[in-house]
Amino acid sequence: MVMGMNRIFIPLIVFSFMACKPKKPTPIITAGQADFSTYISVGDGHMAGYMDDGLSLDGQTNSLGALLQQQLMMVGAPPIEMPWMADQNIGLNLSGLSRLILGYKTDCQGITSLSPVRFSLQGETTSLSTSAYNPSKKFTNFGVPGARMIDLVSTSFGNPNLPQHNPFFARMSMDQFNLPGSGNFSSLQENAFNGGYPTFCSLYLGIEDVLPYAKSGATTNPMSPIAGFPGVGFEESLGQWCEQLFAQNVKAVIATIPNVSLWPFFNTIPYNGLTLDAEKAASLNQIYNPIGISFVVGANPFIVADPNAGMFGVRPAVSGEKILLSVPLDSVKCHQMGSVFPFRNEFVLTLEELSEIQNRIDAFNNIIRQKAATYGFAVVETNTFYQKLSSGFAFNGVALSSKFVSGGAFSLDGIHLNPRGNAMLANEFIMAINKKFSAKIPLINALAYNAILFP
């Protein structure tokens, strides 16, 4: 009997000791002066979830727009509605290719190594001919890969007959690919405001007003003009949008444009990445010594084409110049590109070009800040975040940086963030909202989101 009592009694004591746990605090979560009951976000590929050089369902689920809204749902934001891609997750870019994954690739020298490779032979191109618009489910995320600030108010954006046309927008537009010949096309802005103005709006545009130019090595895709009519000039396009928000009492958070040249696409190949042994250095010296360029064993600057560089139009790259990730690496390794054959202009951003781009970004950012101040919107200084990544920092025990693949924040295209990076950038938005509108919205546990998956 006594034995039996002890059998019950002792485990009971043990159990009660185990239960002696610190009490969970009640979190204080409020929207402050902001109202998220009808919420939309507008932006480019970052907002849309474009990553690994493609738009896929996984990317959309982990987009800046979705992650941010998911957190705002704690303070009353509606569920996320996006023009979802197919659930096979193949992904699609505008060249019809699938998204990138990390895989093995054998280069021209027969060396197999880890490299970004396409997930599939072909992208999910059918997505571009199928309308994702549903009149009964208004989108909350109007992120469109490739959208520029000047596209925001432009009706040309969804018009397949015009060069400004964006297929990613066309598939989500209420035009539903329109009747042939009807000629009526609605702008991104009209889509976003269709069915009533939101109570709160997140806007992150402007990168695509400079990035295509930078990605082309400052050869094609000119940057958006600062001034001009809405749909042409940056300032007036943003101005028109802001005035409407203000007139309708919509609160907003607006992000500035980061310095895109900090991204891995522009920093993975060092300007002096031409590594030579004695034999190769000697043979290059034979070619180049006559025009005053010499090579040493070890690291050398790549040779770039520059029409202003003497009568031969070639010179060694200088420190600070960017060799783009778009260079064909096999040509570099096996066909002497960057040495015997100089890198063409489209693969290089010179110091001059870099400062031209930076000046334009600075001008755009001044406009963004000025509009935000005028209309009382919160501002996210995204460059602070990218600058921090660029120098590297420890986050909950993880070293993050803007290094390609190993940095843990960028996706495999070297331009867009991966899910973890998006979560961290979304946190910057939340902090800006909290500060401006005296809200208390918790940040996202960014390390719960995927970075780069390894085979």
Binding site: V2, M3, N6, I10, V14, F17, M18, C20, K21, P22, K24, P25, P27, I29, L102, Y104, L114, F393, A394, F395, N396, G397, V398, A399, G408, N427, P442, L443, I444, N445, L447, A448, N450, A451, I452, L453, F454, P455
Partner: protein, 416 residues
């Protein structure tokens, strides 16, 4: 009653799995049930064989030979509230089981001499965090166990003054696990485990002064021990493509255990009352760096040196004991109450999930019951709640740790 004792013994044995939870730093101050009842103090009060640990100088004042065993299961629960996400994470610590075993002998030939042997667990910790917790890349599990085996001699120089010295052989094992921020293609994270055995030598000295009045005093010193980790191993679980970057292999490291200097006094204001006070100085400054030297280095696996920068600390411990005495017989029941305050050796910016330490107040209570002049039992209970917020300089982990630790202990004594 015999059934009870048997049952408790069974319980005791089943709990000698060598896992314990941190106390101040990773020091565990549970080496004697009577001291534990009085705020973990009593280095100037000789009541049982645990004096071998608390003050070797007092051992020669023990009146009888004695065997003493005790264990104090620790139920510790840590809660971590992340400051930016407000998410709450907890530990799933196994029950810690510090124990102590003492044998105290008196020389028949030289009545001034006593000698003894003790096996104690003065350092150790098992902290296991819940799956997927936010600090998983800093730590998922730390298990550390340190045993001290201490042969001791104690000699009464005069009728009032005793000196004692013990040699400490320390042996332990440590295992540290964390997740790595590299992901398999299904999204699961890689992991690393570092494990090794460690050992070292130290000593324990004590002076005990009993002038025979209302006051006794003691001074003891336990030396620091540098535990060199031998046969250390690191094992990685990473995606195949990264295996060359993270080679399994040997590693070298060491773990310093701090010195503890204790000044204690005991007052006996009335015959059946004792008031004890101990002041500890703990030389935690020795825990300066946690370094791992990997045998196979790669660009992804460099030797690490993590600053710990512990500081020396002081702790105050006090308690009272009341012996229930009837008709001038020897007392059969004792009651104890105590408490203390200890500073944390962990400086701001250095709080880690492995030792979520803070300045702490704690309270204790205890009692003893003598079944016969030979055989008695002790029981004690220790309770503390500590809380501390910090942003770790190395990992960036920023949040508040709250810990509740409850430690009920039981011990048995046999004197002859």
């Amino acid at each position: 009653m015999p059934i009870n004792v048997k049952y408790l013994l069974l319980l005791f044995l089943s709990w000698i799995s060598p896992v314990y939870v941190f106390c101040q730093g990773f020091q565990v101050n549970f080496q004697g049930q009577k001291q534990q009842g009085m705020g973990c103090s009593g280095s100037a009060l000789v009541q049982d064989a645990s004096v071998l640990f608390y003050n070797p100088g007092g051992a020669c004042f023990a009146s009888k030979r004695e065997l003493n065993v005790a264990s104090t299961p620790i139920f510790a629960n840590v809660m971590y509230v992340d400051s930016s996400t407000q998410q709450v994470f907890r530990t799933e610590n196994p029950v810690g089981t510090p124990f102590s075993c003492y044998a105290l002998m008196k020389s028949k030939k030289f009545h001034r001499l006593a000698y003894g042997l003790s096996l104690t667990t003065p350092f150790g910790s098992t902290v296991q965090y819940e799956e997927d917790w936010i600090g998983r890349f800093a730590l998922t599990r730390l298990a550390m166990k340190v045993f001290h085996l201490q042969p001791t001699m104690s000699f009464k120089i005069t009728d009032n003054l005793g000196l004692g010295a013990g040699l400490v052989w320390s042996s332990g094992a440590v295992s540290l696990q964390k997740d790595l921020p590299v992901q398999f293609d299904d999204g699961t994270f890689g992991a690393a485990e570092i494990s090794g055995k460690a050992s070292g030598f130290g000593y324990n000295l004590g002076i005990f002064y009993n002038p025979g009045g209302v006051l006794t005093a003691g001074l003891s010193y336990r030396s620091g021990i540098n535990m060199a980790i031998s046969s250390g191993q690191v094992e990685f679980n990473v995606p195949e493509a990264l295996e060359p970057n993270f080679p399994n292999g040997a590693l070298a490291s060491s773990l310093p255990l701090p010195s503890v200097t204790t000044l204690g006094i005991t007052l006996r204001p009335k015959n059946n009352w004792n008031v004890v006070l101990d002041v500890n100085w703990v030389g935690w400054k020795t825990y300066d760096t946690l370094a791992f030297d990997y045998e196979n280095n790669t660009p992804s696996l460099l030797d690490t040196k993590s600053a710990r920068n512990y500081k020396n600390i002081i702790a105050f411990r006090t308690g009272i004991q009341y012996a229930v005495q009837r008709n001038n017989e020897d007392p059969k029941v004792w009651f104890r109450l105590g408490g203390g305050f200890g500073f944390s050796p962990v400086k701001a910016g250095y709080l880690t999930p492995e030792t979520p330490d803070a300045n702490r107040w704690y309270g204790t209570a205890g009692f003893s019951y003598a079944f016969s002049p030979h055989f008695s039992m002790d029981a004690s209970v220790y309770l503390t709640r500590i809380q501390r917020g910090d942003t770790n300089l190395e990992t960036g982990l920023s949040g508040t740790f709250t810990t509740i630790a409850l430690a009920p202990g039981i011990g048995l004594n046999y004197k002859w």
